[in-house]
């Protein structure tokens, strides 16, 4: 029968294998095209000027849109509502 120590060692090894499998796999970033409204020092929007059409990761769009740093090239109905009310 497997001892608790053996079980814990096996669990740690499995976690290591899982971590290495995850970490060794490159992950494509999904980008979205936006227009710069304000130039700030932050990832993907540094060194841009107002009116530039740039690409930012989809997962960071909400933060920049909420702070009026960027606006989408094509806005969804939900985004139009947020902008008009914001």
């Amino acid at each position: 029968m497997e001892s608790i120590d053996d079980y814990e060692n096996r669990a740690e090894n499995m976690e290591d294998i899982e971590r290495l499998t995850i970490s060794s796999k490159p992950q494509k970033i999904k980008f979205r095209t936006v227009i710069v409204l304000r130039s700030i020092n932050a990832p993907y929007v540094s060194n841009t000027v107002v009116g530039d059409k740039i690409k930012i990761p989809v997962g960071m769009f909400d933060h920049y849109f909420k702070h009026k740093v960027v606006e989408p090239v094509r806005r969804t109905k939900k985004e139009i509502k947020i902008k008009d009310n914001g």
Partner: protein, 142 residues
């Protein structure tokens, strides 16, 4: 629900693809704010005792990573040394890989790198990244 730190990785944006740095074993994000002292002679508490007063100043952040040497990796110690010498800035992301996981993203420069090969051990690598500008919270796209 708590999450294992093993699933949270520091990765670098390499031409639109996130790649892990060295054979990561641990990573760290650290943020600090300057405290500007505003104490005056009349800065006193209710009993008239002198107290120090401050206002918040500029904020800054750093990332660091420790890992095992893997010379075949995309971002091995050799790549990091090359980028450190060139002084180029890169965008980093610290967070889990799974969809809808939160992450921190920041632009930074490699400020130090160390490589420690020891007898009968896998050589270790560590690097410090000085953040520049804002650190932004994001969510991994599904």
């Amino acid at each position: 629900m708590v999450e294992s730190g093993s699933k949270i990785l520091l990765r670098v944006d390499d031409g639109g693809t996130l790649k892990s740095l060295v054979g990561e074993v641990s990573s760290e994000f650290s943020m600090s704010a300057d405290m500007i002292e505003t104490t005056q002679k009349d800065s006193v508490d209710a009993s008239g005792n002198p107290v120090k007063t401050y206002i918040a100043g500029e904020t800054g952040f750093t990332f660091s990573v420790e890992g095992l040497h893997d010379p075949t990796g995309d971002w091995s110690v050799f790549t990091i040394i090359e980028k450190c010498k060139a002084g180029t800035s890169h965008t980093f992301q610290l967070g889990a890989v799974a969809a809808n996981s939160k992450f921190l993203s920041g632009t930074g420069l490699f400020s130090s790198v160390s490589f420690s090969p020891s007898k009968n051990e896998v050589p270790s690598v560590s690097a410090e990244i000085q953040g520049t500008g804002e650190v932004v919270e994001g969510t991994v796209a599904p």
